[in-house]
Assembly symmetry: C5
Amino acid sequence: MNMASEKAKTELYPVPLTIEGSAVLHQMFRVRWAAWQSVSPEDRKALVNEAATVLGEMEKDGQSALFSLLGHKGDLMFVHFRETFDEVNGAELRLANLKLNQFLEPTASYVSMVELGLYDSSMKAYRMLAEQGVTPHSEQWNQVLEETMERSRQAMKPRLNPKIPDTRYVTFYPMDRRRGEEKNWYVLPMEERQRQMDEHGTVGRRYAGRVQQIISGSIGFDDWEWGVDLFANDAAVFKKLIYEMRFDKVSAEYSNFGTFYLGIRVPAGKLGELMSGMLPEK
Amino acid sequence: MNMASEKAKTELYPVPLTIEGSAVLHQMFRVRWAAWQSVSPEDRKALVNEAATVLGEMEKDGQSALFSLLGHKGDLMFVHFRETFDEVNGAELRLANLKLNQFLEPTASYVSMVELGLYDSSMKAYRMLAEQGVTPHSEQWNQVLEETMERSRQAMKPRLNPKIPDTRYVTFYPMDRRRGEEKNWYVLPMEERQRQMDEHGTVGRRYAGRVQQIISGSIGFDDWEWGVDLFANDAAVFKKLIYEMRFDKVSAEYSNFGTFYLGIRVPAGKLGELMSGMLPEK
Amino acid sequence: MNMASEKAKTELYPVPLTIEGSAVLHQMFRVRWAAWQSVSPEDRKALVNEAATVLGEMEKDGQSALFSLLGHKGDLMFVHFRETFDEVNGAELRLANLKLNQFLEPTASYVSMVELGLYDSSMKAYRMLAEQGVTPHSEQWNQVLEETMERSRQAMKPRLNPKIPDTRYVTFYPMDRRRGEEKNWYVLPMEERQRQMDEHGTVGRRYAGRVQQIISGSIGFDDWEWGVDLFANDAAVFKKLIYEMRFDKVSAEYSNFGTFYLGIRVPAGKLGELMSGMLPEK
Amino acid sequence: MNMASEKAKTELYPVPLTIEGSAVLHQMFRVRWAAWQSVSPEDRKALVNEAATVLGEMEKDGQSALFSLLGHKGDLMFVHFRETFDEVNGAELRLANLKLNQFLEPTASYVSMVELGLYDSSMKAYRMLAEQGVTPHSEQWNQVLEETMERSRQAMKPRLNPKIPDTRYVTFYPMDRRRGEEKNWYVLPMEERQRQMDEHGTVGRRYAGRVQQIISGSIGFDDWEWGVDLFANDAAVFKKLIYEMRFDKVSAEYSNFGTFYLGIRVPAGKLGELMSGMLPEK
Amino acid sequence: MNMASEKAKTELYPVPLTIEGSAVLHQMFRVRWAAWQSVSPEDRKALVNEAATVLGEMEKDGQSALFSLLGHKGDLMFVHFRETFDEVNGAELRLANLKLNQFLEPTASYVSMVELGLYDSSMKAYRMLAEQGVTPHSEQWNQVLEETMERSRQAMKPRLNPKIPDTRYVTFYPMDRRRGEEKNWYVLPMEERQRQMDEHGTVGRRYAGRVQQIISGSIGFDDWEWGVDLFANDAAVFKKLIYEMRFDKVSAEYSNFGTFYLGIRVPAGKLGELMSGMLPEK
């Protein structure tokens, strides 16, 4: 073992491995209710039918979902999970060309990619490579890491390309890790970041069965680093979970949060009910 | 008593218990006065009647209220307190489909849930559990805390599902506890946070009878952590109270405040008067 | 003298007394010049006459004033000083229902209440009460402070309900005292704040006769803590005064400033001239 | 020499003298190209002619200038230099009432007053007054400073009421001196500020002949403290100059910068060419 | 060697040389889909043909490119690389006067100039000049630096005036180096900045062949200091690269990032397909 590997042992390579799955788009729209009111019942029906048919196809296999949003940030939120950004953009263009779109005004969106962070496996791999004195970014190093990621991709395939959970409520929000002058996530040692993420995960796991979480990464795609979707059948649990997590070191000291969107699921088949001013029952 | 409980005694579990009540929505609208001017007196009357009837129903049991806002942030504010977010969304959709809505433009909103923070009971329960050496998140631990919350829910039921107070004035604003690099509420020990909240409450209690306060939590629902509604028959008292509180440690050092909305109550039956350009007398 | 009063002597009660006067509203509007151009001269005249008549009534006793604003933040600013927020809201609704309002677009506003801060009298009263060992918030304590405020209200009545000064220029801006992690106004001792306010006032007094200043408080009413109106017949003096003040400790270290609005007074009777595209001469 | 003057010698009066010249307005507009497309060639010609005539008059003596802006922040920028804010507001109202204004949408503006900072003369005067033991703000003190300013006004008259330079490119941006918790310009000693300004000026002077700079002060008039206009016949030089300056202590540590607007000069006589979609050649 | 050069040796001149190439404009537009829907198929065809012809000409030699954007920040992004800002503005005006522009709404833009930073050559030149005791900004000093830049301009000509790479995906974002109270890029010694830039470049070079990067400088032209365009045929690699770089000292501690735009390339010839609601295949 040489000097370089000694150093490597004490200071691990800092970049955690991640694996990527579905391309994701969240779209928020305000309904132009005033204009919608002037549409005849027959025309409304035709417009809704066209939209419900397209959305119904998209819903298959949990690829897309519609939510009725609370508050003025939007009335509708469409969420799309697809194999590629091309398909996501295709879905977006298809909705944009629906006749119903004449009554929708885009207010927000979020572009991301389902991401699983591999803090544990990364740390193990980096430690092993360091102990073996393998030079970072050498062919051997790259190969070991690629194998690590590939094993995870196989093991976690359903989580990389998830169906949109079929719960009553969703909350979506983007977030960053802080790069403050004193509290800077990106200069913490790998071990400390792994420890904090692990603590954080422990809280999350206590909510298993009550909340499903899907994390998507948006570095390079949108204005925050990650998007978080929480799905549950009891909306109050979102508050409980996020409040409890806020006391975790990683949230308390190293996280910034963006805008929150709270939505209620509306299946394609009930779009007409929603557009006539009634929230469909579960 | 074992080592773990020793530690627990010196460093209490940090997350204060909260209990949740009504789902809440604040909606701010600007009136399209220019368009409204071109409506004939008969049509105005019909539009106002429809809206006043719906709003009148919603007002029953103090579930919804209308306020005339000061300034350009909005002309009208609707506040809704309901059992569930489904009902809140239902109220929102119902208003959106009123004909009067053609003359309303949404400018802001706030989504939250009535919340009572149980700092005192939490601290007592956590201390007792620690002294008894009960492992956090064990079945017994969960049960004790659930009982603590349930007792509070019973004792404070009217405060969890309050009627909207029938005062002349309201001020609404959202707020956060700070997570600054040096001043970070979420890393303070439980005891210190409880002490500051207690000091804060003491100031508030001196205004009992003059100001009614309803706190709602919005973590996971909207962009700030809490919403505050103050109700009074003398608007100047809002300034007095909030200014006095600003010198409390918890406000001075650990609070950020959002946008303030000052409104004057207008009962459904006087909507027509308001829409004809006159503020109804008390 | 007991221990408590000893402590009180060394650390004075921190909240300075304030007395409140007129309710205040600033309203900024952009003129829809394009739409205005298509109005016939006769209709223009009728619209202007109606508006000038209403504004003329409001101008009586210096209660309301119109200013032509510089720049894109607005073309017109209406300032209203009234006894109550009800009357302020009434004035707002009355303007909103003018036919001329079809050509006005609200861009900003500010809601506040004329405020006089009583740092000097507060400190004297708190010192005396402390020396006499009077318990804070006791009946006696409250009575002494209420008397202090009442005396000031009587002595400063004209300043609590001022007429809008009849100068050529106005500048309006909102401001906050800072609550930074290190520089936090609200945790400074009363004596230090009084000292800084006194230094600040000394600068202001050197501009007596050239600038009239009206401070209004907006805690609980709008998004900043105070609004400042400066009135002068020479606009350059605004810059001189505020620049000089910026070197005061209270401005340099403890103040944040919002948006500035510079306006030129236009009497109601000259509204027609302004709306025809000419700034009325003084 | 007494004690007071001793102190004064060691700590100079902190407010640098400034002298003021022309009132300034920058106006940014987006062209409503879609609406413009539907105007007939004859009507276009008439609209352009009216506007070009008015602008042509304003251009005389370098009082106003039109620039074609790059990017979406605006298509046109008008810059006005006038004797008074009344004349500036008059110019603004005149443009607002042009028929061409139906196709312009205001996007931004800046209100300021040409300012020359007299750091060197201020320091000399303050030192002399301190050595002579003259009490600050005494009649004698005021007189000496007024004479200092008057001498500068005479000497620098052309720079106080400059013509808008006739270069091909302009860049405009507003800026502040920082009042951070640690880096606070306004608490630095006069000598240190003078030293930094001098260093800054040295960089600027190396660009003499290639860049003309006009500084205007906006404290009390608009949202930043100063506006900067740079004029050059080679746009790349803006980047070179500002980048080099950014390493000056005063820029690196004590400056915040606002929005930048890059424009290309278009003389009134070539407005028609621009409005037909072609950038006029130099 | 004299004292001055000794100092110069220990503290190098701080401003890195840069060389400039093409003027650059990024334009983001939202499509008015609702209005577009009401256009007849024939008119659509004519509008698309006109636009595609103009865009087709602009595409020659990789001067302009069109991208379909994901999310609500815009539907289309045009990127233009030209010799001068005059040509860039000309391209902008030409697009603004297309009939298709009636259906486009500008949402964002970015103005910059291709820039190559010469940290390595700057440091060598500054060292040499210091060792030779050449006075900064003397004629000799200027000449040596001009020669340094000219050599680089010759050697890197294709990188100064690049063709827009012909990849499927682009991500564009602006960025700043931080000037925080503690972490301030502009006060770091030249050597340290060079070291960090070198580390950063090393990461980038590992992505050679997978990602093409074009940096443009915008100091003096737009609101951030630099714009970054990354081009790739696999969008996920943007996230990988930027995430890895975020752990570099220069990104972790000294960088702020603006809004991210993710786009998919659409050749002029396929504009019709896109405007009919389908993303053209590669």
